[in-house]
Amino acid sequence: MSGHSTYEPKTGIERWLDTRLPIVRFMKDTALDFPTPKNLNYWYTFGGILALMLGIQLATGIVLAMHYVPHVDHAFASVERIMRDVNYGWLIRYMHANGASMFFLAVYIHMIRNLYYGSYKAPREVLWILGCVIYLLMMATAFIGYVLPWGQMSFHGAVVITNLIGALPIVGEPITTLLWGGPAVDNPTLNRFFSLHYLLPFVIAGVVILHIWALHVPGNNNPTGVNVKSKDDTVPFHPYYTVKDGFAIAVFLLLYASFVFYNPNVLGHADNYIPANPLVTPAHIVPEWYFLPFYAILRAVPDKLGGVLLMFGAIGTLFVLPWLDTSKVRSMRYRPTARLYFFIFVFMSLVLGYCGGQLPDNPVFGSPSGFKLLDADINSMVWLSRVATIYFFAYFWLILPVLGLTETPLPVPESISEPVLSHPATTPAGAAASPEKRG
């Protein structure tokens, strides 16, 4: 937070610079001394992990761009050349491809943490919305990046997703043509996607700066959801959270490395190692795992435009969330009823992800029931995704608004320090296990 700088330039050079560009003072105030609630648990380390992942994606991506050729005749071969001939090309590409998955894993945990502790509520609405913008940009960047290797999944994924926009009335087709640069997905499409894939990560980096700025105005939320009352409630960011984040990053990198070195293709699709062929569609088109919940929502609706609108509506809903949740209590630790609905929400999101990876007519249990409701068997993935889709929207548009007015929350502690100091019994078991709660 501004206005409490403790920086004292020690050398002549530092004093000289400080009166001209106080960048050292700025870094010390925001990255070292920044007062941070002392009760942040490991769910709060994912912001740092995400910053690292963005850095890794930028670094590996810039290197890959030195060897990649954005042309339909050469793109696939140039990626294979990176894999076989470029020194350490295999490592850099696997880091980039799996890095995208790790980035999304971390962002989903970061968002769910946010939903649980109510961090999107006043005064952090702008912080939350900027996060949603970053998430949207990440999805665009990841989709465009997946097209670049120009394999079968790349090509037909691009066809399907750009056709989604064509569902919009009137403006749909001109926008699709504008994206394609021709009558179909082809070389002009690949060229502009490469250009945009290079651009968007830097846009993300810009929004991340705004995101951190918006974080540093109100300061961090914390697992109790109670505002910081005094200096007793905080510790300086360094060394307390640099060390904690550092440890979390090391553990996260172990997971990342296990994919890169031992299972680099498990999250991808074998079909993408077949060069793109516009005349043959792979039998089973599925997006990358991080898009599956939205893909399931898209397919849950039997109408093309309806499906597209609902899918974008799922993302749009996140933007207005701060005004949908009517509860004054931030943390779900003190909202036992809401907590129950929250865990069902997380479960339903996972169900949507599962459905997105299955064929719509596949039975959920055993064999089809033979009982048809509307257009599909009642025991099918499409009906399971409909149930989960309804819950997804009901959670935001019905449960959170109503529950905030009707539920009786548990007593909220006076301050952050109170439950920390009067340890075990008064702290209800929250989401986090607690070796880290030693203030």
């Binding site: 569609t281 039997p302 109408d303």
Partner: protein, 185 residues
């Protein structure tokens, strides 16, 4: 520059500083700036539309002799697959019989989907009208095409009968150059 806002503080202005004239200058300058930005933005957007050489590659000729009765040949046209199907008399009869079927979502008769007197030749753009996948020939409940992506069924006339696709498979512009050759586009 707060004091230049029209009418904000008219007393401080001397004679001749008519607020409405300042308004005019502000509006005119603003409009000119908006026009200039739009003028520069349009080329930057329109460059993404199909280029001249892309548009030039837009028609092909095809020799129908390559397609045996009952068979389909797929050719690439404007980056998309083009289905050229030589229908057998039974297949034509089946398609005509369904002209008034109740489940036609985008009602068209078989007659409207081929050139007059050339009922055996069905020429279609081979992208599903749902999300653009390529349907497989001979599949589905109606013997026409089946799209593997999201399960759209097309009949022997390429009309959508079941599944999420909203429209029939599109018939491109084409002409018969002779009995055995067509020009598409």
């Amino acid at each position: 520059m707060a004091d230049t806002v029209a009418g904000a503080n008219p007393d401080t202005h001397g004679a001749g500083d008519d607020p409405s004239r300042r308004d005019f200058i502000h509006i005119a300058a603003g409009a000119a700036a908006v026009g200039a930005v739009a003028g520069v933005a349009w080329p930057l957007i329109d460059q993404m539309n199909p280029a001249g050489d892309t548009l030039a590659l837009s028609s092909i000729e095809f020799d129908l002799g390559k397609v045996a009765p009952g068979q389909q040949v797929v050719v690439k046209w404007r980056g998309k697959p083009l289905f050229v199907r030589n229908r057998s008399p039974e297949q034509i009869a089946a398609a005509v019989k369904d002209d008034n079927a109740g489940d036609l979502r985008d009602p068209q008769t078989d007659e409207e989907r081929h050139k007059p007197g050339k009922a055996e030749w069905l020429v279609l753009i081979g992208t599903c009208t749902h999300l653009g996948c390529v349907p497989t020939v001979g599949g589905g409940d109606y013997g026409g095409w089946f799209c593997p992506c999201h399960g759209s069924h097309y009949d022997l006339s390429g009309r959508i009968r079941k599944g999420p696709a909203p429209r029939n498979l599109q018939v491109p512009e084409y002409v018969f150059l002779s009995d055995t050759s067509i020009k598409v586009g």
